[in-house]
Subunit: 691 residues, 2 copies
């Protein structure tokens, strides 16, 4: 089949290396081959979508007949499917559509379709959009919101609908089945009648691709929007207000998915304002949506300015509430205990709750990993988290298994990713940032998927051309493009860790530049300490790092044994997490035999040299990439290269003030002065909001 596919491609028009703007994502059009599609007897928009995809994308045998059949099958979970030579079998329409996309993907990347079962790891696979009603996107680096806009916000245009449909199709192609349309720092206006009209329009555009619509809500909406005197979740008027609002929503969007809530967190109102618990708040909302099958995703991103260790707080607040949440509530937990840093250990909450559903929240948008400038393939970071062993129920209790229902029963399972999508023509700003959207979907579907395999899939779909499809050309393309560029992707996140926050350092980025670039010095007077880098790196003459051992903040004890003891001892704590858990002298002897100071400096330098290698790799890939995307990525890599040097120089020169040790000769000497770097990072206190 593969040969035929290639032959057919060769007969098609030479798409060659014409400039591409990236708008097609991994779904670039190909000349299709005739196919006969047999559908179930009933009609639906989703089934029509499945047929259309098959007909416009089929690269298999010409004239083949493919049957999509709906059948109950105990082996098929959620929206899973079964592929066979004859077609796709599933127990839901969504399952059929996912099967179709899987079939087409395999044809496109030249893999024989694997007969057999494919079940999603998580029931709900959601994008969270931090989009505001005014069209801005918090932590968005790819233009304005695709859902909201400042002018004539509520008029739905044909262009809106097309874009939403393209967006939904991309999601469906990787198994994403839900979208939260607005920022977790939610405006109450989203629940007004006018906005709900636009929500309905969006939901209507997403529905044919099986993507459910969700909203973030502000906990004080009954006061702000409803005119009530309180938002106390136990107040009957408040309960009634929410019931009415939910009813209104479901009238517009009958398959509405539910609410995402950031409450009693970073200044957002919540149940604690009324002396109630997170459970009181979440349950009230859960009861309101339950009659309609709705869910409440309640975020655990909470921390108070007075606590001595921010990393411990979500655990401390939520563990006592285990078992007190309704079964249509899921606690949504960021992958690490602080905030989407380039590397964090997994959040101990993943291994802590036993009677409460917990879901991981990953950040697809690169808030701390270079915005849409630096090239960061994030699947290895998510894979690292998902495969981390919590030891909740003995060895093998990975984060994935603790959240997908394998370790203990939970009524619902889900994974969320904070989206990087915006109005930019290529959706994500950086062409390679598309890979993170893609990879999030693939990992949410299969939490055991390998980053390397996902990268290769995505590269083939996104960059391979018909001209590369003869056996000889394909071998060349694999050797000269696929292999080196996949290696680049796989090394990219670690390079960022190295040049920004190696060895467990975290939260030392610039506040001025909205978390892009270095800011280890940033600590305006009066600023709450846990928003400033010195709180996290604790650099001083006696060493560096945050002491979270048993004699320090004791955050290690939030982990199960044997992990807690392993992390507690600098001799056994992995280098990657060393300064996360330990405050160590600059001359501490590392496993490598080097001092901590030298090791730190070499990591920073290695990050810089890695980016330069990425540049060389990409330059060599030029013959295999269209000019437009080649130049765009090349330019971004150049800027990243400068950013990497700035990170290295800033952190080494800043820390050197405390270490008083020379920068090792093997390290590239700084090309900035500390004074110039600090001056560049303006000292005006302007804390960015952190959702």
């Amino acid at each position: 089949m593969k040969k035929l596919f290639l032959a057919v491609l060769m007969l098609g028009p030479a798409v060659g290396l014409r400039a591409e703007d990236g708008h097609q994502l991994w779904l670039r059009p190909h000349v299709s081959v005739p196919v006969t599609v047999v559908l179930p007897a009933r009609t639906s928009a989703l089934l029509a979508t499945a047929r259309q995809e098959l007909q416009q994308g089929w690269q298999g045998p010409a004239g083949a007949t493919i049957t999509l059949s709906l059948k109950k099958d105990k082996a098929i979970k959620y929206d899973g499917f079964r592929l066979s030579a004859q077609g796709v079998q599933a127990s839901t329409e969504r399952g059929l559509l996912y099967g179709v996309f899987e079939l087409l993907r395999r044809q496109q990347i030249g893999q024989a379709p694997e007969a057999g079962l494919s079940n999603p790891s998580y029931e709900h696979r959601l994008l969270n959009h931090w989009d505001n009603p005014d069209g801005s996107v918090e932590r968005g680096y790819a233009g304005k919101s695709i859902f909201w806009r400042k002018d004539s916000a509520l008029v739905v245009t044909r262009r809106d609908q097309t874009l939403w449909q393209q967006y939904a199709r991309a999601n469906a192609s990787v198994g994403i089945n839900g979208s939260v349309l607005n920022n977790v720092n939610a405006s109450p206006v989203i629940l007004s009648a006018g906005y709900l009209g636009r929500v309905k329009a969006i939901a209507d555009a997403l529905r044919p691709y099986g993507v459910k619509t969700y909203l973030s809500v502000k906990f004080s909406s009954p006061v702000l929007l409803g005119g009530l005197k309180t938002a106390d979740p136990l107040d009957p008027a408040v309960v009634k207000w929410w019931q009415g609002k939910v009813k209104e929503i479901y009238q517009q969007v009958p398959d509405f998915g539910g609410f995402l809530v950031k409450a009693s967190s970073e200044g957002q109102p919540g149940p604690q304002d009324y002396g109630r618990t997170h459970a009181d708040g979440a349950n009230m909302l859960a009861d309101a949506v339950r009659p309609y099958g709705g869910l409440v995703m309640w975020r655990a991103f909470v921390y108070s300015p007075s606590d001595k260790d921010r990393a411990k707080q979500a655990y401390n607040e939520f563990v006592p509430l285990d078992g007190k949440f309704r079964d249509n509530v899921i606690i949504q937990v960021k992958n690490g205990p602080v905030d989407f840093q380039p590397r964090e250990p997994f959040s101990p909450l993943f291994g802590a709750l036993k009677k409460t559903a917990v879901m991981p929240e990953f950040q697809i948008t690169q808030e701390y990993l270079g915005h849409a400038i630096d090239l960061a393939y994030l699947a290895p970071m998510w894979e690292e988290c998902l495969q981390s062993d919590t030891y909740q129920a003995g060895p093998g209790s990975t984060v994935a298994r603790c959240t997908n229902g394998s370790v203990y029963r939970q009524a619902h399972s889900a994974m969320a990713g904070v989206s990087n999508v915006g109005l930019d023509r290529n959706w994500t700003g950086h062409d390679f940032a598309q890979a993170n959207w893609y990879a999030f979907g693939r990992l949410a579907w299969n939490s055991s998927a390998k980053s390397a395999q996902i990268a290769e899939e995505w590269l083939k779909l996104t960059f391979q051309n018909a001209a590369d499809a003869t056996p000889a050309a394909e071998a060349e393309w694999n050797a000269k493009f696929l292999t080196p560029v996949a290696q680049l992707m796989l090394a990219s996140r670690e390079a960022i860790v190295d040049y920004s926050m190696p060895l467990g350092l975290h939260h030392i980025m610039s506040a001025t530049y909205h978390h892009y670039g270095p800011g280890p010095w940033w600590a305006p007077s009066g600023m709450r300490a846990d928003w400033t880098p010195p709180y996290y790196h604790q650099a001083a003459a006696n060493g560096v790092g945050f002491d979270r051992t048993r004699t320090g903040s004791d955050a290690v004890s939030q982990y199960h044994e044997p992990l807690a003891s392993q992390l507690n001892d600098p001799a056994t704590c992995p280098d990657e997490y060393l300064l996360w858990f330990h405050h160590l002298p600059w001359t501490f002897r590392m496993k490598s035999g080097r001092t901590l100071w030298d090791e730190l400096a070499l990591h920073y330098d290695h990050g810089v040299q890695q980016v330069r290698q990425f540049q060389r790799t990409w330059d060599r890939a030029q013959p295999y990439v269209d000019a437009e995307r080649f130049a765009a990525v090349q330019n971004k890599l150049r800027t990243q290269s400068g950013n990497a040097v700035m990170w290295k120089d800033a952190c080494l020169l800043y820390f050197q003030q405390f270490s008083r040790l020379p920068i090792p000769a093997a390290v590239e000497p700084p090309m900035h002065t500390l004074e110039a770097l600090i001056k560049y990072d303006t000292p005006a206190p302007r804390p960015a909001r952190q959702p």
Copy 2:
């Protein structure tokens, strides 16, 4: 004697590595040894200076008697001197002072005093200060003027006098015997009675060190200051006005040296405004100062915006006037035909005039070589020029010999250096820029001196401490500090050439940043072409470089054979001057076998890597340098390192638009985008004045 000197130093207080602010220059105080000084029978301020220097600086045998004797001696030229074990003999008081400084220098650097004759290569060894009456310094990077200040400009303070005296002493210590106190872009106000009063005060402070005072004058002063209707040099009223003004000056400053004139150049008024020649103008002034023994230095830095090759114009204007100048006029010619670029071939005027005195003008201040940020030891550049063979009277007619009277008789000989001195505590902004002041004096005294030897002298005087003076410590100091840092200095100018304008490129610097950093793109519409980089680099799809061959502008023909033919042929033209004289295809095969494009890229990269090596060298030198100067130089090297990368990236990315060739893999990939670099270099047209 050396051993004694060392022993004495060891008995002195441990000066060790205490912080130094650089104000002492190469004249750092040492504990002196008693000495008896015998002076000539007469008394004078200069003789008193000589005695004082001997007494406070003597490091020779304790209780020695040193005799300073004035005696006519045909072998002694100008202010030369003869050293012997008994003392110094000279035919002028200045000669005695220079002999004293030579003696003390040798003692300090641990050399036995060489008995014998030392004559200066040039009669007049002058600093040109581009200082304005408002206290600003054109192309000054070390603070405001030491001579003029905005507030209470004419009040002479004790602090002024002390500073002027320290300045004069530094000059005398390296044989500089004249200072032009104000900018060649001269304000007429300098000749007003008020300002002449301050000139007198300065002259009085400089005189005891044998430094004569000169002024730059504006050619239109008779109009602007005198109220005449014309400044026509042949107008009797104008002649009379100048005669009167000169008389007034000499009443204040009886040993006044004369005038420096920039006329009919870059918008400055001059004789051509009245249809007269440079000779008419210069001679009129020369006649006015002749009765007092004064000189006129007339600058040949002329070029018109309409000519096709700026590099040819000084030659074209002045050669026809050869023989028409009075013998107290010297034509002052910049080392290269364009303008103090990091590398230029020597000006063909040096080999062209036979009946007119010609003097070289070097730029000590680093207008095009990194201001007071980049480390550039300029002696190698000046040595390169002085030792260039003009072939004016056959082989061996070096620029030095054509200007010091060796090749043909000229009544006066001189060398000028545009000063880098300002009010900064260390005088020159960059601690290593002091070396250029020092080296200028040493080369003006001995145009055959070697850059390497001057560098070592200066390093010893400026950085060696008593603690380094045991034999073992000195050997260590030599190996760990002197040798590597001298190598750094000697390589520094070539590194700047490499990272900014290699292979004969020139004048492609930023206008926005006053000639610091790259600006190959700078060409605002309406700007005169010969002020814009594209005029000079001529980059296009067909190649790069300025065609000055016989089939181009024919500038090569301003040089004598065999040089003209050597330069005319790209196969024999030295790489250093290749793009100065040739426009060549990007794929031109260089002597190295590489293409021009690759060679260019490797030169840029080499410059960057060199600066990083300088940083490492300096870092290793830390134990041998006081903390204050170590940190200052380290920080400047860091900034230079960034500047080098910016140059490399800017030029390679800019030229690549034309070459369309890949940057070789061996070259460090850019860390800037061309767009960002151009944006940084603001497009607002703001041409800097070019004296």
